[in-house]
């Protein structure tokens, strides 16, 4: 499939997926990437810092997530831990319920489309 379609599909949902991951537990950049890759790589393709970080900045700017710094013993530097805010939680639940309606709606269109007809 043309990778542009995949990009488009991913664009809207990745934000929701990230919010979900952060809502589950406080987490940091590398862990987010790893989790995305462990459970989503087959469909979503490999998650990249280049995609994830910019979205995290936006979520933070919109006050849907917040972060705190913690010293990291392993690398001598610091790690930024993200957690969801109340506003983020409310937005996420709105997103999820919209997403459910959305997929039902899209599925209806897809199931009403006769592929053999289209192919001819």
């Amino acid at each position: 499939m043309d990778s542009r379609y995949v990009q488009q599909f991913k664009k809207g949902s990745l934000e929701m997926i990230l919010l979900c991951l952060i809502a589950k537990k406080e987490t940091y950049g590398y862990e987010i990437i790893t989790e995305l890759n462990n459970s989503g790589a087959a469909v979503l393709g490999y998650a990249k810092e280049g995609t994830v970080y910019p979205i995290l900045y936006r979520l933070q700017e919109a006050e849907l997530i917040k972060c705190r710094m913690a010293a990291s013993a392993a690398n001598g530097g610091s790690k930024k831990y993200y957690s969801i805010t109340e506003k983020g939680m409310a937005t996420l639940s709105e997103m999820v319920s919209f997403w459910k309606n959305y997929t039902v709606c899209v599925d209806n269109f897809i199931s009403g489309c006769d592929f053999s007809e289209v192919a001819r």
Binding site: Y28, G29, Y30, I33, T34, Y46, K48, E49, G50, T51, Y53, P54, I55, Y57, R58, E61, S72, A74, N75, G76, G77, S78, K79, K80
Partner: protein, 151 residues
Amino acid sequence: MKQDYIRQVKKALIVSGKKKSEIVRDLQEAFASALEHGETEQQVIERLGSPNHFADSIHEQLGINYLEKKKRKKRMDVAIALMVMVISFLTGILIRIFKGSKDVIGQGDALTSIQISGTAIDMSIPFLLLGCVSLIVAVILIVRYIRHPKN
């Protein structure tokens, strides 16, 4: 390699200084975490994408109309180059005008036979040179601005 990458991202970013240092810190963390998990800097760089692309996705996500900003910055550069050019030429020309003719000294009404010898630098030359350089820079910037319709 990592420092080079971070430096290029820094250069490409058009966000506030505070945001910039935050992004640089995060990049350092990204490299450190990956290294901790046995990855190489090269692998992280591949996932980050080119410095320009990474910076652009941040701009896009933050809703910064970076094209407009870039455009404005380019116009600003042209304006500065033109201004430097005008000021330099004016200064250079004024110095030339007020230098007086060669053999006139002080308020003398007529020519004297007194010669002033010395190796004083003609101050108008550096100004005129600077004017020429900024003219060239301005022309280059304008051509570049016009050539990239995307900008």
